[in-house]
Symmetry: D3
Subunit: 254 residues, 6 copies
């Protein structure tokens, strides 16, 4: 019908052909979460989807529909639930969705699955979702699942190029230079740098407080800073992620 | 940032402004399910999303991210799980996702919610998801949730215009003239009529059989027929749905 | 002990003998739900149980205890939860009961199961209960489960005989002519036609509203009408259901 | 309609009147479980239902539909799952059913509930079901729930009259003299003393073994003995239970 | 490293060696529950752990970490939730913990498991936890699980020696002579007999009341009496339990 | 009875007095997980319990029983499930335990709770457990819960003193110098440095693989290194944790 790598944009006979040919399926995990005054709420959906699209194209794979709601946002990593528009799933619900999709891919005879996560708080519930799927499928199954977080693939050289004065650390990289740059590269229409507040970086206490978190999230919701973001830097980061992921896929699924 | 009606394409201050102004939020419920040789698997995502987009634009509302995986496809209504590419959630998982999103919208102070469903098998689990949300929120809350299935809004006159020789019934309208026409209107790139098999309509026995369903689903996965589908008819149907839904929203949320 | 077809009225050695002889087991699904001023709350229990009893007698089967509480009644199909006496299970609870009973029947070496439903809102949770049972049992098991709703078996000729002026449709057939007639045939002591209000038929809007449903359910709880109900018509309907079900059982389980 | 005390045999306006008059609702908890060669599988359904019927009649109450499937039968108390015909629910499923029914009764404005259990293994899951209902309803609600097991009400004098040579203890009273006598009093058609094996009483080790229980359940499934059972003794026991329960209801709900 | 029988006090190579040698694993089930004015809240943790330790030492087994929180305390058996310091798990949570630990022991190739319970209200949820584990593992697995309650092992002679004037029954033996004596034997530092109130024994009505239990629990929380408790009697009871359990282990796992 | 700060070592009147005086309750979260050839499996239990004990003593608080089983160990952070003796809970089970204990503490009128975690994989399920507790309690409750991981409190100066040649990073600090030193300070009997293999540090790929993880965990299970561990360093680390936590408690609960 078309040459889309998105599974849901193909007809079932096209999907059948791809799967029977051994195509890997990429499952992007997103979230609907505040990303500052200057970006849309779908950053964690856009970025892993864009990376999966490029890697799938390079490796003959398919991209399953991105899960658009993520596990509960926390103040120290994503601003937390108080920001308008942040819509969370509970961890158990999120894990069940991941479980069901993986079990279904397995039932559909997919044996190579890459789960690419774009939202910090999804890390552990996605691990649990995979574990629950394996509880159902059996752990001696002829199946390989790789799970990863896209921000792990930025090469040290790239980080140095982007932060010549020192990297503030991934913990604060929420709605900051890395995410903003990638968004400028793939969906500049969803970024408006002129609205960025410069009220960060956040200095968090080393603990969580419930139900009233400490007032340390900057009012903007940006945990670090946005100055210096650019589409060019975004392309560097995408090149790192896509390149590394293509290598991994080729090595693991050869 | 932009004039999108999609909640996830706005920044959090934009969402905050919309919600505090009383905007209704539309939640489309989709599925990833076979729709014949001639259409993509995302028909149940595309159609309710398109309707919600138009209604939200007309009424000042917001469209939350579409749930892209639906409740288990059944042979008599959607071909069933045997078709490659159909990826199902269990009913409980699907209901929990609906519950969590509704509870979150309520927490975000949204008081007018429209759940628009595009996948037959989602009907009951979406009812349950809303019930579970109300179990958590409380049933005397200041909140109105409308739940509907887009195919309920085709006017009898339109059905007659489309099927001058008689309507085969909504039960068989899976991947058939209605859905195909709407897809031709909104995403013609995901339809290829030249590939449509003409092996329907399905004649189902009046019962379900598990785990091996009767062999009555036509090989194509189309339950009724596709001849006569056109973008023009799709626009008639969209006009019906959008028009009726705008009326309902104006009446219920005035 | 006796010649009952009800499994629970036999001793275990009698059940053992029946099962080892290949007897099919019928599981009726009921509800405790308002059925107008003129009928008891157990209509959805009585009718499928009566049909199962007759079919089991004709085919050498056994009838398992009827599940007497059903999935949440909804305004458009059963009047909804506001009517006194309506006692609902949540969908998940109902599905787990169905799952557990099916898994137990399988463990007891039953390989032919007929799930006969008598309550509209049970349709989807009973499908899910069977799916959950198969998730546990395995889908390649030597087992056949048929699931059906008793109102599917009325022959068009019978419907025409009963409604010479046109059938209002099954959606409104709650506590109306069909159910009332069957009750008059099997449990006339639980019907008092003199109390029937004639405030229907209901005209529903094509959507659900929560938590406050539209005020469209007729005060009586009867969705359509009761005039013309008779035990004779009830027997016609029972004959249709029993006859068709005997055919299905003989064909599917031969 | 009729003067039944069974809630499900009344119409909704009749139930409404009863509830608004402060009627207590009795919920019998049963099971489908082997009860020897000489009795039907529904002993645990019949007995608490019969007691509730009599007490409701004496006190103006209503009897809700008996839950006909019980928590997993165990070898030391009911013979265990190996006996044909025993159909169990898991503890969680059983507790959820109890929870849902209690929550619904409360929603229907019932404030006096008596849960009368007839199956040993239901004791704890029925406690949990009530606790779960109170977790949902709130523990400061204007509501009283009494939970009891019918065998607790046999007066010592009666036990002595029945067992002049000493009481073997309630642990072994499965399908034995007490249950058999009550069944002879209320449903003699479901008892056939001529088939009773006299292979008891069981001598159990003081522990459980899984998944293969010790071979100590007598082949008949009768844990103690049946000699000396009679309808007369059954009436003594019923009189004890009904009398004591009427006292309790009058005292607790005055 | 050391000669501990506590699994968690060994290094993994030491555990590996034990398991590959066929060691049985003992899982003590405890609770955090009031035990009168004169004893600490951890009585139900201390006693089964102490017994398991001795039996494991005698039989070459290992003791897994004791589950320190138990199923909801009830007034008639443990004083109930109203006593400060009593911290309960719900039955489902408790069963899931037991399930998970058993499944993990099986995964670790342990094939001989003894679950020794020290808290009355844990009886049924521990049975359910084992059943759930077997649902996951499969019931034809090469595995034996024994489940027992430590108070079942007191020999009649010992009970007679301890209660020369008659045994009040295990139901009331909460924080009374048996438990107090064993605590005096194993952890005298957690007992202060001078603080014991002598307000028992409790006389319970033969039913439960929710949410406000009858005021029949003695203010002290001791259900029976403490006079006559001594470390010597505690040693008698421990000798009974340990001796009997060693016999059982040797017989069942030979 | 005694001056223990462990809640379970007190009688209920003692606990009552403490709670009514406003005592904070510390809940340590542990695990049963391999920690190399040279340490016992209970490191993640011992360390947070020891810190809580000291802080409770300094601030007049109470220590609730440590949860001794943790969320599923993963290869990149704890060696993973393949090591003998590692016994995991699923994330949902672990979260439910945390939820239940917090809800119970709240019910017992505790309003100041510190959850101190000692196992990396518990981070997210403990967040979820607290969120679930607040879902039940309500988020406007008069209650403060602090959640923290003990390794966050090592001061940079201390880390520098311990690793003069550079800190390998907390990710690899499993069974390595930090944990080994603290264990040498508090439970030297559970450490045997002579058995330490020196096969680390681990070099992990930046992704997870299921169900067969990459073979990158060093055979010993030690992720980093153990040389240079000492009780003295352990005391430095404990002093940091205890000191910082006392400050936090004093500040947050003043």
């Amino acid at each position: 019908m078309n040459d889309s790598v998105f599974l849901a944009e193909l007809s079932w006979p096209e999907v059948e052909q791809k799967i029977s040919g051994g195509a890997a399926v990429f499952l992007p995990l997103g979230a609907t979460e505040q990303h500052g005054h200057h970006m849309a709420l779908n950053v964690d959906v856009i970025i892993p989807t864009a990376i999966c699209e490029r890697v799938a194209r390079a490796t003959g794979g398919l991209v399953a529909p991105t899960i658009p709601y993520g596990n509960r946002s926390q103040p120290r990593s994503g601003g937390g639930p108080a920001f308008p528009g942040t819509l969370n799933l509970s961890a158990h619900t999120f894990s069940l969705v991941v479980r069901d999709v993986i079990v279904e891919l397995y039932r559909q005879k997919v044996r190579r699955i890459v789960v690419l996560n774009g939202h910090y708080e999804n890390i552990w519930p996605s691990v649990e979702g995979i574990e629950l799927a394996l509880d159902a499928i059996g752990r001696d199954a002829d199946l390989t699942i790789l799970r990863m977080d896209h921000w792990e693939f930025a090469r040290p050289e790239t980080i140095e190029r982007i932060f010549p004065e020192g990297y503030p650390g991934i913990e604060l990289e929420h709605a900051s230079v890395l995410e903003t740059s990638i968004m400028l590269a793939v969906r500049p229409d969803l970024v408006d740098l002129s609205r960025a507040l410069h009220d960060g970086p956040a200095k968090f206490r080393p603990y969580d407080r419930f139900p009233r978190p400490p007032a340390e999230v900057p009012p903007s919701g940006v945990l670090s800073m946005t100055e210096g973001s650019s589409a060019e830097k975004g392309e560097w980061l995408l090149a790192d992620s896509v390149g590394r992921l293509v290598e991994i896929v080729n090595e693991e699924f050869k």
